[in-house]
Symmetry: C2
Subunit: 305 residues, 2 copies
Amino acid sequence: MACYVGVDIGGTITKVGVLNDRFQSVSFATPRSKNELCDGIIGAIRSLGGNEVDGIGVGCPGAVDSSGIVKFMPNLGITDFDVAALLNERMKTKVAVTNDANAAALGECIGKFDDAVMLTLGTGVGSGIVLGGKIFDGHMGKAAELGHMIICADGRECGCGMCGCLEAYVSATALIKRTKQVMLAHSDSLMWQIGDIDEVDGKTAFDAEKAGDPFAAAIVNEYIRFLSIGIINICNIFRPQAVIIGGGVSNQGENLLRRVRANCEALDYGYKFAPKPQILKARLPNAALYGAIAMIKYKVEENLL
Amino acid sequence: MACYVGVDIGGTITKVGVLNDRFQSVSFATPRSKNELCDGIIGAIRSLGGNEVDGIGVGCPGAVDSSGIVKFMPNLGITDFDVAALLNERMKTKVAVTNDANAAALGECIGKFDDAVMLTLGTGVGSGIVLGGKIFDGHMGKAAELGHMIICADGRECGCGMCGCLEAYVSATALIKRTKQVMLAHSDSLMWQIGDIDEVDGKTAFDAEKAGDPFAAAIVNEYIRFLSIGIINICNIFRPQAVIIGGGVSNQGENLLRRVRANCEALDYGYKFAPKPQILKARLPNAALYGAIAMIKYKVEENLL
């Protein structure tokens, strides 16, 4: 019985899962140093009975290069983390590392899609691409930053230094910023009744729209229109089977997705002739863990490491 | 000695190449009917000594589905052209069909790049993507319409019915349209000395810029800025080894490419940490023919047909 390990390093929590005759997982608060993080991962693997391990797949927030070095994990302040070499040395097994958004995309696809793109609408806009059942991460593992696809030349400033990036329109951060702007411009908006301006979150505009506030409806419609443009671009570029939406904003569910689908049907170039990608909500809280395991299993079985 | 055939069906000229112990090619005016086109292709193969053929690769303008049916070749008025079945029946060999932009991209990559994107700046904006040394054409062969990537929400109208597509800014057609607009607004532009407004082509603004016309310089700078945005998006999405620029406008050569590279270096998200894609001019007049042969050779050798 083969034994594969998945690791999902998060800004707050790290999850470790072991798949052998069954699947078990544990989680722990992510330490702020490389060695403690490795100790935590290895301790977790051992606690789940993973002694003879055939491979470890790791999903990390931040930029990962193709040699398995995590260049930078912004939320943890860790740089040049050679997690593959460290785990390999201590566990004597093969290790593969990818961005956590890639791992989550693969996890969401297992058993359902060979070709799909996942967008995570959170603090930023994360993206993961699965092509032919495998993570696509471009030449030397640096793709794909779909959040920094420019959808509006000379548009809103993005944290990356460019203007008009998808992230500057459809991250939860962008939605909150826009909500506050509109509230400040309209003291009669119902949004003021939901909470103080300092309490605005990604739900505020959606909630006020439901309560009949026209200012909130304008924010939500604008948000959905920009998200639809991003998804139309993804469809025209990858023509995937599915576009999967995750992150906090995706909790709006069908109220969001139904309207995005309508926009895509109305606008998508070649939609009539091309296969129609499904637009779905992400479903699995442990998607990145499952994806990390699927990635290492594939790489070990195909002898790619 | 294996024998592979490549076919590049063009709006005006069709080229056929046969690769066995050497490479030979012929071309003929593209007939306007399916049967005559097949007759022409088969006649050309026979004239080049291709009797026992191991496979035929075909590049077609227009939309091709994964079963090898050309849904629509706009410039030829041919629809639902089952070229794979027709050639297979008459030549008793395997046939694979792809979009001509995909074939050209693969042809330009042979021996040089495993991961590259080609943009063709002509009447429209064609695109071909090579990933891992193979044509990427998405789920069911419908990718990738990079020309219809929206780079400017609510921007210029595109022939596809959407607004703000890359094609609406960087096709030769878009450049000509913009040149005429600027000429009409500025009767003192040097562009009027280059030729009448009916004679404007994709070179007019570039030529007048060289002659010192500030109005032409503004057109060219704007054009290059939008092209750079498209290329930055491609880099952030695919992180390829190279972006290859073809089509009429690419004949501006280094005057165009040097300025595009400077923009990309200044703007590209993550450029500092990511591998720097080369930005190059397409080189091979027979790229689509070579690419069609490379595609069929790969598919036959890997037993994919």
